[in-house]
Amino acid sequence: MLDTVEETTSSLFEFITFSAGGQNFCLEITQIREIRRWTPVTALPHTPNDVLGVMNLRGAVIPIFDLAAKFNLGSTQDSERNVVIVASASGTTIGLLVESVSEILSVETSAIQETPDIKSEATRQSILGVISVEEAMVRVVNLEAVLEKDPGTPA
């Protein structure tokens, strides 16, 4: 996923940072297709509670996840600042509802630290690493893991 960037000379990565469930996260900018305002979605039957429903993105039907719920940080509360980050990886496009988007972060590869050794396997899988920005910690979301955990019907 990060390979493509490495090939193109610089080791500088750009991330978009956002908050979900009160924590700071970021996604690599090349994975993000667009950022949209929250609009009501069509609910899907028999889905886990982090699946909000499906949305029409210029004719494509894309599922929208509540990122906070996905990370077990409770449901995202309604707010004016809520946005949907449309991201795609391995041919799948999804939308992630987050509380708000903050900024674009440019960092060297070296600034990305390994995820601290925490107990929860699920958390370790969904976080690629952490970046510290002005004393705050930003978690790099592993989009592949977010996609993987949702093959529709839970086993």
Binding site: V41, T42, A43, L44, P45, H46, T47, P48, N49, V54, M55, N56, R58, G59, A60, V61, I62, P63, N72, T92, T93, I94, S120, A122, D150, P151, G152, T153, P154
Partner: protein, 735 residues
């Protein structure tokens, strides 16, 4: 990679077999002209050639025998009669079997075609068995055409030539790989020669000394001049298969106003000795040895002389072959990756949705004078529909190949049952979506087999009844009001309703005292686990019943019905949607969600009277429909959108027939509209969801789920709860 070439071969085989069957049926209709026989011969021959390259010996041997007999017909050494045509038909079937068995790597059924091979060989008699052998080639060429493709009818030539003669100079330098892939420059030159007047000149400049000669290297190159009225594209087509295997340059020099240029070298016997040919780039140093001592040079001289001779003989050859090659030129077609077509179809689907959205927005604006706007919108709508139809037509394919396969099934089935039956097809140029055709093959095969096995009587019985001994199976296809109609009818005995009813009662499918109408009895055939043949025959009774046929048709969004007249025959009628990309549906609402239910699944809608609804058990409800009680399923509850009692009133009931539960009434809050919707897959970005078959986008841009009544009924609310519990446990584990 060699697999993709193999695939291409089998794809071609299918086309060739089609041509073969078509030729045979023309011959059957007393058209024994050389064109027709030639076409059949060519098909068998091409299959043999391809099969040889892949080392499919059995196929090669059979095709060769077949081809030899056909050759005798072609040379008028053998007269065509009905027996021969029948043998040819069966040989064609056997050829198809062999191709299939080679493709799927499955063993042949029965005697492996030994009988038909013997019959063919009987015709050979004294005819000299011509030796043939092929070496299996190994292919390592990248095939850019891998994957499914679709043939596009371009309705004309891609690049029509302007009819004027041009002089092309071609420089052609093969790479070693050209030879190692089994290509032969001489054949290319022959092909060019057919396009016009060709002069050929070999460049021996790079020829090494004999001592250092490497037979695997490619040291020759040629300069060719062609005077032809064909376009440059046609020239490139000749070299299509050696693309990348040679260095090729084609340039147009001038409009050839004078012919002498072309004639001069033809009369020049020097062509047989290339070293002497006047050359613009005179042969360089190495040739000084003795050209005759070099085997390459010798072979080269024959190569370059051959086209020249061929050119001289051309006018005569053209006349001879003119009859067969010219009148039936294939339509210009274009092979296109299926993905591209599907992407286009998607985009057009979005255009239609977008058009609906714009119309709806403008309506919402409630402008004072919208007359002009409405007109423009109307044309926009029509244009969008036109484009959609055009794009859909790309996916449409004639049902002819499918029908041809069925005539083979009729032959096989009548052989196996000792009955006589022929197949008549009507409307085989009717075009239907490619996927529909593919998914219709199995159900049709089954129905045709059934018609022969159960419908047509034995020849003796038919004679007793005063019918022709040979039964007729009629297969017809037509377009009617946006749907495709396919009918399979036989002139057999008709359905034995007494026996059907008896059987159904015996199997407990209907209650003992039931009094069913004829139509209802006929429809019993579609129930799972029903089979009328008292003994399991060779053909039917393979565990596939009419219920499977019905499921396949319903899965395509279609319907199937039976009509039968005792003593006169049975007709199965299938109605299918023209395309799988759009669908007619009811727009309904349940639990504040707008959803779509396919119209094809709905039998009727009921606005129930509260007193018709009865409670049964703790949560169950039934409604009495014309005397029988039908269970009511609440759509929003079964989808898990609402728990407890819904307070939206009594709602509307949609009566659907399901496989597992029979008649069921689906309760929804309201029906809003009936409209055509564009089907969008949910699975590409999310996954399959129970009870939902797909999604669509409504005029307001919102997504509506397309429900699958069958699954909704099977999802009982209690099951939902356990699923929800399971999900909760899953979530806890993640925590």
């Amino acid at each position: 990679m060699s697999n993709s070439i193999r695939d291409t071969f089998f794809e071609e085989c299918e086309e060739l077999l089609e041509a073969l069957v078509e030729g045979l049926s023309q011959m059957e209709d007393d058209d024994h002209s050389s064109d027709v026989v030639n076409a059949v011969f060519r098909a068998a021959h091409s299959i043999k050639g391809g099969a040889g390259a892949f080392g499919l010996d059995e196929l090669v041997h059979f095709a060769h025998t077949f081809e030899t007999v056909l050759d005798m017909v072609r040379d008028q050494k053998l007269a065509v009669d009905d027996t021969l045509i029948q043998i040819f038909h069966r040989a064609g079937d056997q050829l198809a079997n062999l191709v299939e068995s080679a493709r799927d790597d499955t063993p042949l059924e029965g005697d492996g075609g030994a009988a038909i091979l013997k019959e063919l060989e009987a015709y050979l008699g004294d005819e000299e068995e011509e030796e043939f052998s092929f070496d299996a080639l190994s292919f390592d060429v990248d095939n850019p055409n891998a994957g499914p493709t679709i043939e596009l009818d371009l309705g004309g030539d891609i690049a029509p030539s302007d009819g004027q003669a041009h002089k092309f100079s071609i420089s052609f330098a093969p790479k070693p790989s050209l030879f190692s892939n089994g290509h032969e420059p001489l054949l290319l030159f022959d092909a060019l020669n057919e396009l016009g007047d060709l002069t050929c000149e070999a460049d021996l400049g790079n020829l090494p000394e004999f001592d250092s000669f490497d037979p695997n290297s490619a040291v020759m190159s040629w300069k060719l001049e062609l005077i032809t009225s064909e376009s440059e594209t046609t020239l490139h087509d000749v070299f299509e298969f050696v693309e990348g295997l040679c260095e090729l340059e084609i340039s147009v020099e001038e409009v050839a106003a004078t012919a002498p240029l072309a004639e001069a070298p033809l009369d020049n016997p020097a062509a047989s000795a290339p070293a002497e040919t006047p050359s613009e780039q005179p042969a360089q140093a190495p040739i000084t040895g003795s050209p005759d001592a070099t085997p390459t040079a010798a072979s080269e001289s024959s190569k370059s002389s051959a086209p020249a001779k061929a050119a001289a003989a051309k006018p005569a050859a053209k006349q001879a072959s003119g009859g067969s090659s010219e009148p039936k030129g294939p339509k210009a077609t274009l092979r296109v990756d299926l993905d591209r077509v599907d992407r286009l179809i998607n985009t057009v689907g979005e255009l239609i949705i977008n058009q609906a959205m714009i119309s709806q927005r403008i309506e919402e604006l409630d402008l004072p004078t919208v007359a002009h706007l409405t007109n423009e919108l109307e044309s926009y709508k029509l244009l969008a529909r036109d484009i959609q139809e055009g794009v859909m037509a790309i996916r449409a394919q004639p049902v002819k190949p499918l029908f041809q396969r069925m005539s083979r099934i009729v032959r096989e089935a009548s052989d196996a049952t000792n009955k006589k039956a022929k197949m008549v097809t009507v409307g085989d140029s009717t075009e239907v979506d490619k996927t529909v055709i593919e998914r219709l093959a199995d159900p049709l095969t089954h129905m045709v087999r059934n018609s022969v096995d159960h419908g047509i009587e034995t020849p003796e019985r038919r004679a007793e009844l005063g019918k022709e001994p040979q039964g007729t199976i009629r297969l017809s296809a037509s377009h009617r009001s946006g749907s495709v109609f396919i009918e399979i009818s036989d002139d057999g005995a008709g359905l034995n309703r007494e026996k059907i009813l008896e059987k159904a009662k015996e199997k407990g499918l209907v209650p003992e005292e039931a009094d069913l109408s004829e139509q209802e009895i006929d429809n019993l055939l579609f129930l799972p686990g029903f089979s009328t043949a008292s003994t399991v025959s060779n053909l039917s009774g393979r565990g596939v019943g009419m219920d499977v046929v019905k499921n396949a048709v319903v899965a395509l969004g279609g319907r199937i019905s039976i009509t039968s007249v005792p003593g006169q025959g049975t007709t199965f009628a299938i109605v299918l949607p023209l395309t799988l990309a759009v669908m007619d549906g009811f727009v309904i609402s349940a639990a504040d969600q707008t959803m779509v239910i396919p119209i094809s699944t709905i039998l009727e809608t009921i606005r129930p009277n509260p007193k018709d609804i009865q409670a049964i058990g703790t949560n169950g409800k039934v409604i009495s429909v014309r005397g029988s009680y039908v269970p009511i399923v609440d759509v929003s509850k079964n989808l898990g959108f609402s728990q407890g009692e819904s307070d939206n009133g009594i709602g509307v009931l949609l009566l659907v027939a399901t496989e597992r539960q029979g008649l069921t009434a689906l309760r929804v809050d309201a029906i809003h509209d009936q409209r055509q919707v564009v089907i969008k897959s949910l699975e590409s970005n999310y996954g399959a969801i129970k009870g939902v078959s797909a999604a669509t986008i409504l005029g307001d841009g919102k997504i509506a789920l397309i429900l699958d009544p069958e699954e909704i009924v099977n999802l009982s609310p209690s099951q939902n709860k356990s699923e929800i519990l399971k999900e909760l446990q899953m979530d806890n584990r993640h925590a």
